[in-house]
């Protein structure tokens, strides 16, 4: 897998410092599972967090805190086995959708395009998108930020081509019409922190029902 479109420094710093909404954290964690370059960049930001924490004014713990913590270790359970996913379904996404993409409960958006909304905290929403090969997604703009990560297949829009593992970071300035490439059907994980802005009348009317 050759990843060409990576996470921005802004996203990595937001993930490292814990400021991103859950839906964005999910996209970041999935990309990190597939990309050692970004994992190394994140490690650098985590090191900044570590040094800030280490330089923090320490606040005394209560007298019995060490004894209390040691006592808790007595009954500590064995650590869970390592979490491992697949290329199209990395472990952090499995935690949300289960072990099989085929078992996802899709809802039709028309023209063969389907989506499944994932449960995340407020602040941003996440969903899986299923776009049949060669199919267009309705032309839309963005009020906030939209992150789209390709899990399977590929899509193209006005800016570039996006294949497995690639993340497209779209903001207010980008209005685009993604088209799934011919060949394999395209499955993406998308997250947005504001409702999308559709150009066509029909998707605009349908929007509230689909929660996008």
């Amino acid at each position: 897998m050759t990843i060409r479109h990576h996470l921005s420094d802004q996203l990595l710093l937001g993930y490292s410092s814990g400021q991103l909404p859950e839906a964005f954290n999910l996209v970041v964690a999935v990309h990190l599972s597939l990309c050692d370059d970004c994992k190394a960049r994140l490690g650098a930001f985590d090191a900044v967090g570590g040094s800030l924490m280490d330089a923090c004014d320490s606040v005394a713990m209560s007298d019995d805190s060490l004894a209390a913590t040691l006592a808790r270790l007595e009954g500590a359970v064995a650590p869970p086995p390592p979490r491992r996913g697949t290329k199209t379904l990395p472990a952090p996404l499995m935690d949300y959708v289960g072990h099989d993409l085929a078992a996802v409960k899709w809802r039709s958006l028309g023209m063969g395009v389907r989506q499944a909304v994932l449960r995340t905290d407020k602040g941003a929403s996440a969903r899986l998108l299923y776009i049949p090969a060669g199919q267009k997604v309705p032309d839309h703009g963005h009020r906030g930020t939209e992150l789209t990560l390709v899990l399977q297949g590929a899509f193209r829009d006005e800016t570039d081509r996006f294949g497995p593992g690639d993340v497209e970071i779209a903001n207010e300035e980008l209005s685009h019409q993604p088209i799934a490439e011919a060949g394999e059907d395209c499955i993406c994980l998308a997250a947005t922190d504001a409702p999308l802005r559709f150009s066509g009348l029909l998707p605009r009317i349908a929007q509230p029902f689909f929660g996008i």
Partner: protein, 191 residues
Amino acid sequence: MVATETGQTTCRDALAQEEWGALILRVRDTQDRDAFAALFRHFAPRIKGFLMKSGATATLAEECAQDVMATLWQKAHLFDPSRASAATWIFTIARNRRIDALRKSRRPEPEDLPWGPEAEPDQQEALELAQETERLSEAVALLPEKQRELIERAYFGDLSHSEIATETGLPLGTIKSRIRLALDRLRHSMS
């Protein structure tokens, strides 16, 4: 580096990152309670300070700091000193606990890396990373006041994600390359 009853903190504070890392490895390999106690005395009050600066009450911060240290014990087998210093690794546990406690939301984490005895961290790599981390800490301390403040506000939870600056001015190139090499070695040893 023997701790005395009275002057234990000054003595222990002088431990370099690589030595803290060595203590975590002792926890991992032999469930060494003395090593754990030393880590606790150094890190727990800092985790508590960090969480209070991030908006937690003293009671919540105390509770979470204990949780973080207990997690260190349970997850010591995942600590890799060639990819993260002790302080870095403990920070990530504390940050996740903070998201859990203050925001009450889930924290998606990347997949665990392939791991096994053949992927045992290289000591030289671990030492170099620890030194690089210390150099980075010095650089952070020397940043212009305004810039440092902005970065602190990001990490202490005072900025929303859209307010986070894209240009941090942090010298992250070397440490990033080092972690990248460690990841390459790990992947290579597993393939």
